[in-house]
């Protein structure tokens, strides 16, 4: 067979990366503060919460499912950790909250992984159930940490190491860790396989239920970590603090080129997706645009970026379907 050299420069295949670069250039031309170190740091820090959640959801989506419950799960975890902070102290509050959140993840995982129920509807249902649980737990009251200055809990959201804010470090470290897990470990490979073709995976001896279950545990773990950052950053929580986050997270994951059909996607590109959304919000405020332009720009950016990505994979700009 005649072998051709891989067509075109490698960068052309990275539709999302191209979109990201173009986008950054346009924005930095339109606002001189956009590229300043301060602003970069501030955007990275802001994107850590959504970002950490997006990492978990990326894994769920690669495994062929969706997770829409992360928004209210974030509310749950944040309210819990903040509320328990004053009652039993942070050193106990954190593990208790993490365990409780993992339990919610396990419920998702059981319903979807083991009982094989449709993930969109299950997590939609869980979104509602968990929001109800939060409200019942807190009686609908905001929770706040009384001694905001004295608690070491502050390091997660407000601290810094070598001048880099802790949320950025947590986000970066988790991104690297998950990237390694997904691209270099057997577990990662299995997630890709189950998402790509669950039947063939079972035929290959992969414990499909167990793999899907684990993806939901990971997602819940990410939510718990995001909640620690959020609770520590705000030092309090509202009952609906995570409302709407599920769609922002999903948008970031999609923007990163992860296929909703499962079996394909990349952690590092999700990071790009997260940053792109954060930069849109940030950049447009810097330009003094009203908030709703954000939504219009996001509309265009999501479609164009994913289009570029799809087009690069397909090797032609427009779909060949008649």
């Amino acid at each position: 067979m005649t072998r051709l050299k891989a067509g075109g420069p490698a960068i052309a295949k990275q539709g999302i990366l191209v979109a990201f670069i173009v986008f950054m250039i346009v924005f930095s031309l339109m606002s001189d503060r956009f590229l300043s170190a301060d602003n970069m740091m501030s955007v990275f820090r802001q994107s850590a919460i959504i970002g950490v959640m997006a990492l978990g959801v990326t894994i769920v989506v690669i495994g062929g499912n969706l997770d829409l419950s992360v928004g209210s799960m974030l509310s749950f975890a944040t309210v819990l950790v903040v509320d328990l902070h004053d009652k039993i102290g942070p050193e106990l509050a954190i593990p208790v909250m993490v365990l409780a959140t993992l339990c919610l993840g396990a419920v998702n995982g059981f319903l979807i992984g083991v009982l094989r129920l449709n993930s969109l509807i299950v997590t939609l249902g869980m979104l509602s159930v968990i929001q109800g649980l939060v409200l019942i737990y807190s009686g609908g009251q905001n929770v706040d940490i009384a001694d905001q200055r004295g608690t070491w809990f502050a390091i997660f959201g407000r601290g810094a190491v070598f001048g880099i804010a802790t949320p950025i470090i947590i986000f970066g470290a988790l991104a690297l860790l998950f990237h390694v897990i997904m691209s270099m470990t057997a577990f990662g490979r299995r997630v890709y396989a189950v998402g790509g073709n669950p039947t063939a995976s079972v035929f290959s001896g992969i414990p499909r239920s167990q793999v899907v279950f684990t993806t939901y545990l990971i997602s819940a773990l990410c939510v718990a970590i995001a909640a620690i950052i959020l609770g520590s950053r705000v030092m309090g929580s509202q009952n609906t603090v995570g409302q709407g986050y599920e769609l922002q997270v999903l948008a970031a994951v999609i923007l990163g080129g992860t296929s909703l059909l499962g079996g394909a996607g990349s952690i590092l590109k999700t990071v790009l997706g997260v940053l792109m959304l954060a930069f849109i919000q940030n950049g447009l405020i810097l330009m003094g645009q009203p908030y709703y332009t954000q939504w219009l720009v996001t509309w265009v950016v999501i479609i164009v970026a994913v289009w570029l990505d799809v087009a690069a994979k397909r090797g032609r700009l427009f779909s060949p379907i008649a």
Partner: protein
């Protein structure tokens, strides 16, 4: 209203239905609900039906229908939207069920169909905040504003009161930008961080409620720029009260959900008793600042 009254008298107890805006979205509304139920339980002649619209206009309209369907004696409504509930209120009016509007008012077109309004005056609150801002800055400076959830009446009215009064009272104070914080502290914190990057000089911040105000304060403290910056909010929350006590937060508007709830129930009972109730029953929402805060109890929410 006479029909309802007659049946109420016959049954001896009155049944009052309430449909609220969005319980759980913030603790003001939750505290309101609790206070309302407590007040109703304290009164043996009152039976209440408590519903929540979850912020959705259409759902609130159907709840109005459901309440009419149950032939309650009176309906208390906390409108999710002042305009959109007018026909629903009109329906209740036609069915002879008196409607009391609570917390945020119905649009002018609906005033004919309601028995009374009871609640704070959000425009007035915006005006108070503008006056405090003007005071604090001595009439000169640059400020930013963080508003509530876009498109909802309370947010719009507070912004309107603030903007109009500020322009009139303090032409020397310029508003650099207005962005929403969605009643969400973390969101407000993010918005403020971006403002801090964008503007080198910010003298004051007005936030649509204290929750967001404290978010903005957090951002300014983290950036090391809180010193000398004036933070003014509305709906004094406990966090805002505490920040005020620490001297970091300038002032707010004191508004008690407990008063709000009791006033609404009382107004409805007065209406049912056939008393002559004025159309607009604003309860007082005074300014609260670092100076006079000891005259107020720490908010319970």
């Amino acid at each position: 209203a006479t029909i309802a009254l007659a049946s109420a008298a016959a049954a001896d107890t009155v049944r009052i239905g309430i449909t609220q805006n969005n319980v759980g979205i913030d603790s003001y509304q939750t505290t309101y609900e609790r206070a309302f139920i407590e007040a109703a339980e304290a009164n043996p002649d009152v039976e209440v039906i408590v519903l929540d619209a979850g912020g959705d206009v259409a759902r609130q309209i159907s709840q109005m229908q459901d309440l009419i369907q149950q032939r309650v004696d009176a309906i208390i409504i906390w409108p999710t939207d002042g305009q959109a509930l007018v026909p629903a209120v009109r329906n209740a009016h036609r069915e002879g069920i008196p409607v009391v509007v609570t917390n945020s008012n119905i649009a002018d077109a609906g005033m004919d169909f309601i028995a009374a309004f009871s609640g704070p005056n959000n425009i007035q609150q915006g005006i108070y905040s503008a006056e405090m801002m003007c005071d604090a800055l001595g009439g000169e400076g640059q400020i930013v504003q963080i508003t509530g959830m876009p498109g909802y009446t309370t947010a719009i009215e507070r912004q309107k009161g603030f903007d109009d009064r500020l322009a009139e009272l303090c032409p020397g104070v310029t508003q650099l930008d207005i962005q929403p914080g969605d009643w969400n502290r973390e969101r407000a914190q993010r918005t403020m961080e971006t403002f801090l990057t964008r503007f080198d000089q910010i003298d004051g911040v007005y936030a649509g409620d204290d929750n967001m105000g404290v978010g903005a304060l957090n951002a300014a403290i983290a950036a090391g720029r809180a010193e000398g910056m004036v933070f003014i909010g509305a709906t004094n929350f406990a966090v805002g009260y505490d920040a005020m006590a620490r001297g970091e937060y300038w002032g707010s508007v004191y508004q008690s959900p407990v008063d709000d709830a009791r006033a609404a129930l009382q107004t409805a009972l007065d209406v049912l008793a056939g008393e002559d109730v004025p159309k607009l029953n604003y309860f007082d929402t005074p300014k609260i600042t670092q100076e006079n805060m000891d005259q107020f109890d720490r908010p319970v929410f």
